[in-house]
């Protein structure tokens, strides 16, 4: 009965326009364990997938650091920027501090809840390189996997977004993100209505690849605004092929293809990324450019153990039974 209600509730939450169908959800719930037994390709076919990921390629050889992209981002998303209620709730226990950028809205030197894209600069190999920075839109985003409240999600299409109406501002996504991308603004969001002093601390903000604009048939504002065509967006296989081809023909370097298990943001640079990483200013809101191991890989391996465990447990009964029969038989043979 309870299970019935649960599944019915789940089905009701599925939007009709969603790429993930009811059938796919049934498949996911019912086939999870069995899918674990399948080889990678068949497994991918059995589970609801991200539905053809979109990726962006940023060609840093073209970027002149004019910041038109960052301006466009701020303009396109201004209506979604936080308007905090002040004074902030006195947090319990004391020691939990609010984070407030509302008096620093004009700060374009780093990522903030009011600046989801900024330009990093590095001097390397005798040239100045400009690097537009924002969320990488990881293919297996730890920010979404570790968000305990379902506020951070990966969308079919490869976008990773945080729902400002749901987020409690615990900043787990920022802890889990290898680049510490999401930025917190206190004094806004659901926590104010739930337990303002005891739980939560605001809302986390970051680039959502202009998902509403894109859903309406548009292009991300930063991609559209760039006068030099630094960014291109398209299906990941095509973008990946383009990135590899450009890197091969220009002797360039790529970042993002394998970082954190693969991201949907690929940078092409004329100089090695170790040099760029050494050259940029790093710190809160200023992400690094070092290579990043796949932070979800160990849990993904454990995931198959979880999904197979009930089958293994059941099989252990039969194994035990079979062993007992063999032992009895052997004992019988000895007696003969």
């Amino acid at each position: 009965m309870a299970c019935n209600l649960l599944i019915r509730g789940m089905l009701n939450t599925l939007k009709p326009q969603s790429r993930i169908t009811r059938r796919a959800l049934f498949k996911a719930l019912g086939i999870g364990g069995a899918a674990a037994l399948l080889p990678e390709r068949a497994r991918a076919a059995a589970l609801p997938d991200t539905g053809g990921e979109q990726a962006t390629l940023l060609d840093l050889t073209r970027c002149v650091g004019c910041e038109a992209c960052a301006d466009a981002c701020r303009e396109a998303n201004a209506a979604r920027f936080p308007e905090p209620r002040k004074p902030f709730p006195q947090m319990l226990p004391s020691g939990t501090k609010p984070e407030d950028f509302s008096d620093r809205r004009a700060d374009t030197s780093r990522l903030t809840p009011y600046n989801w894209l900024f330009i990093q600069r590095a001097q390397a190999q005798g040239r100045e390189v400009f690097i537009p920075r924002r969320c990488m839109h990881c293919q297996n985003p730890p920010c979404a996997a570790l968000c305990p409240w379902g506020a951070a999600s990966k969308y079919p299409g490869g976008t990773v977004a945080i729902d400002a109406d749901i987020c409690l501002g615990g900043a787990k996504c920022r802890d889990a993100c290898p680049w510490a991308i999401p930025q917190r603004q206190s004094g806004v969001g659901l926590y104010l209505d739930l337990a303002p002093r005891l739980g939560g601390n605001g809302v986390m903000f970051k680039c959502d690849r202009c998902k509403d604009r894109v859903a309406a048939g548009g292009t991300p504002a930063c991609v559209e605004a760039c006068p030099n065509g630094v960014q291109v967006i398209g299906p990941r296989p095509e973008i990946e092929a383009l990135a590899r081809e450009k890197a091969r023909t220009t002797g360039g370097h790529l970042y993002g293809l394998d970082e954190n298990g693969g991201t949907n943001t690929i940078y092409l640079s004329p100089v090695p990324f170790e040099l760029l990483d050494a050259g940029i200013e790093k710190g809160p809101g200023k992400p690094h450019l070092a290579s990043v191991a796949d932070s979800m890989a160990p849990s993904n391996r454990l995931a198959w153990a979880v999904l197979l465990a009930p089958l293994a447990g059941a099989a252990s009964v039969f194994l035990r039974g079979a062993r007992a029969v063999v032992r009895r038989k052997e004992g019988g043979d000895e007696r003969v």
Partner: protein, 142 residues
């Protein structure tokens, strides 16, 4: 160690690592207690939760085949079933190249949390009941 002790230990690990998924140990300075810093390690507690879930599900699979669902009681089977269904679906969603609609993911998280809290409350009431009357060997396994 008998099966019930194993079940209790695994449930305790699941409860602690599950609670650690909400950043409460850091917020309430429990992670500052010497020896408990690991409770604020997001990835460690996440993996621990998976590992303990695998152990619980192994136990459940074994138990259900060996002694049948009736040996666990209908209510316990329903609660553990709900935990399993929502947890397993979330584990699948966390895999690379898998995405559910955000509302479905949210529903899974909230139902999982609700089922875990219901099991916690049940465990407490069963301890109280245990003190009132002598339990049968199976009554106190939650």
């Amino acid at each position: 160690m008998n099966g019930f002790s194993l079940y209790r230990i695994v449930m305790a690990v699941l409860a602690v690592s599950g609670m650690a998924q909400m950043p409460v140990f850091k917020r309430y300075h429990i992670a500052d207690v010497p020896g408990l810093a690991w409770t604020a390690d997001s990835f460690l507690t996440f993996r621990l939760h998976y590992a303990a879930a695998a152990a619980l599900l192994f136990w459940l699979g074994h138990r259900l085949v060996r002694r049948g669902a009736a040996s666990l009681g209908a209510a316990r089977v329903a609660l553990l079933g709900m935990l399993f269904a929502t947890g397993a679906a979330r584990v699948i969603e966390n895999l690379p190249r898998v995405a559910f609609p955000p509302m479905a993911g949210r529903f899974l998280d909230w139902t999982h949390l609700g089922a875990a809290m219901a099991i916690g409350i049940w465990a407490l009431t069963s301890v109280v009941r245990k003190n009132v009357k002598t339990p049968s060997p199976d009554r106190d396994i939650v």
